[in-house]
Symmetry: C2
Subunit: 434 residues, 2 copies
Amino acid sequence: MNVDIGNALGSVADPGLSRTDLDELDERVADAHDRIARGRADGEFGYAALNLPERADPDEIRRAVDGFDPAAVLTVGIGGSALGAVTLTRALGGDSPVDHYALDNVDPTHTERLLADLPLEETVVHAVSRSGTTAETLANFLVVREAMESAGVDWTDRTVVTTGEAGPLRALADRHDLPALDTPAGVPGRFSALSTVGLVPAALQGVDLDALLAGGQAAADALAGSLYDCPAYAYGAVSQALDERGATTNAVMPYAESLEAFAEWFAQLWAESLGKDGGGQTPVRALGATDQHSQLQLYRAGRRDKLVTFVRPRERPSSDVTTVPETDVEALSYLGGRDLGTVLDAEFEATEASLAAAGRPNVRVEIPRVDAESVGRLLYDMEAACVLSGELAGVETFDQPAVEWAKNATRGLLGGSDAEEADAVRQKTELVVD
Amino acid sequence: MNVDIGNALGSVADPGLSRTDLDELDERVADAHDRIARGRADGEFGYAALNLPERADPDEIRRAVDGFDPAAVLTVGIGGSALGAVTLTRALGGDSPVDHYALDNVDPTHTERLLADLPLEETVVHAVSRSGTTAETLANFLVVREAMESAGVDWTDRTVVTTGEAGPLRALADRHDLPALDTPAGVPGRFSALSTVGLVPAALQGVDLDALLAGGQAAADALAGSLYDCPAYAYGAVSQALDERGATTNAVMPYAESLEAFAEWFAQLWAESLGKDGGGQTPVRALGATDQHSQLQLYRAGRRDKLVTFVRPRERPSSDVTTVPETDVEALSYLGGRDLGTVLDAEFEATEASLAAAGRPNVRVEIPRVDAESVGRLLYDMEAACVLSGELAGVETFDQPAVEWAKNATRGLLGGSDAEEADAVRQKTELVVD
């Protein structure tokens, strides 16, 4: 991964950073890097995530999925237990004969349709919950299990569990002798893509786990105490510094359909890690070139409160199929003979420049191509960027206390506790217009 | 559609609106409504969109698709030429035997995979571009046409065109005697869901066009000069007033997987219509309950710059399949016997209340159920809300001038013109960290 921060300079954009700003920022980066290095060395909660590439054991994962030859993998998990797997499989499993689905919501219509469409007898279920008690995940898992039983499919033959050391899911795996993997200790879900949590579905799709982890390790090895030497920190520091100067929204816009889910993964990473104490950039998921026809008007002419982060592969495959045929229509002749990738890259450069021309800050993140090594590196680099941003902002990067209230209320509403939050729900202030 | 603005009141939230604020706002709404009514009566550009339910001719659309019995429909279009169709078919076509895909990007990898997966001999292509010259759409259309020819499929037998009165796409339809429909006059793409543009794929899926348009017409009939009497205006006015008070982000969070694309459609509507003159709320697409595990931390504990818009159906189908089986695991016993929809609704109420308890403004939009009439009404109401917001903000709601720069630059880069914007692209300021 490399990062071009040229369009975030004050000579181009407002808000923007002067060379002096960058040098001052770099002193804060050096301190933050020391803190991060200490946390990693001590295996502290959260910081341990940045040790995953060397800690993860791809052989253990391959053994757990050995013998399965499914048509589909169904991840049953939510939030950090699903987004890493979705990101990896969308980026890297597009040509695999094995389809990956995530059941990461409790929508009855959607769940019923998905279960009706899946070839259950050829599906491997990957159930993921650190605590083993996540309401949505366990509700879905019980529903899936029942659907398999109703279809005469032995679910114990085709279920892999990834969970913590104890809890209902662990007990269930023990009771039925299911392949069971550990969620990584000391790693919040949103930082667990490069562990059992994200790698099991990728392994079932035949993705090269060694290359993925090698990419992550290369990123880990590249961490250094200056933003000028480290793309991950350059990205984290610049986005944080722009946030402090008013760019409170970060629109992440990959120019590759296979990286659309990456933007979603990034949104969780950023929102849950940095969205606290009344601060934190709001991540916005976008997709190039599609959203040029949807969001670009706002990005270029709306409030000056946005950083746009472009992500693109420098190389794209091309083929006869994706070459635009020559046409005798004069208005379109400039497209003839061009590969779609050439068109997409022209759109990318044009959009980037159109923001710069309007003085809107943007950063270009590039990876060599969408392959296992580059994607492993991209995810690790963005995790490191996020941890650095959290240090610079002075927040507790690795917790997410604000989600507890609603969890307690939900449980109370469903009769699972007498939480006082449920009473607050019942006292809603109403002003209905119909 | 009804709208509950109780959690946007100043007694609950900050920013929030007092009763006095609402009364003052209502005077502005009355004036804006007069302007909108005049625009509709005169069929002015843009305002004409609000006349679509009575102008659209479902018989004409049904005639155009009569005789097709496809396995799949492929919309080739981008932005407003795709998002309406995607929204309608995701919401309403889930049980249809006809799958709908949109080719709304120029990504070579994605396009090649999609063309390899589609049963081309059973696919109907719907090519949509008002001008008939949209680069992405025409490039894709030429690629699709060639893929069909290579597969020995006669594309002229299975292509429907929707375009303006003149242009290359119209000429092509004439030359090959293709079924051709008009894009609606005076209606920007993002307001065209309830016209030929959005309705053709829905018709091919067997969606009830009459019910869709009846829902839109009911919404049109409900427009009235006070926010207290009109849910569409209540939503538009409150979101605009909160924007003026600092809620510069609008996170739209449907609690239904089938409405996930609705949030994307809304994001275009809001961003392109209101994102101008240095203002306009930034729309953020979210999904309940999934994003409780991704974005809720930020919404509840981040900056006080967000309005959260919940959208949910009051009724959801339930069945044996989606009932969580009873379990002897004590920690999960409260889930046993509950339908997934009950769990989802409890999560919704809990999340809504958790934001209110933290003083974060939110609005509840409800529709009776996800069916054609309700979805037609929802889309129309949100279009009317957007037009009202634009009036209150004093912007040109129906144009999108800021996207022209990048279009010119793209064309220049691809050799289709000598636009000076292309030169600016080549002079990029670089500061690369690798």
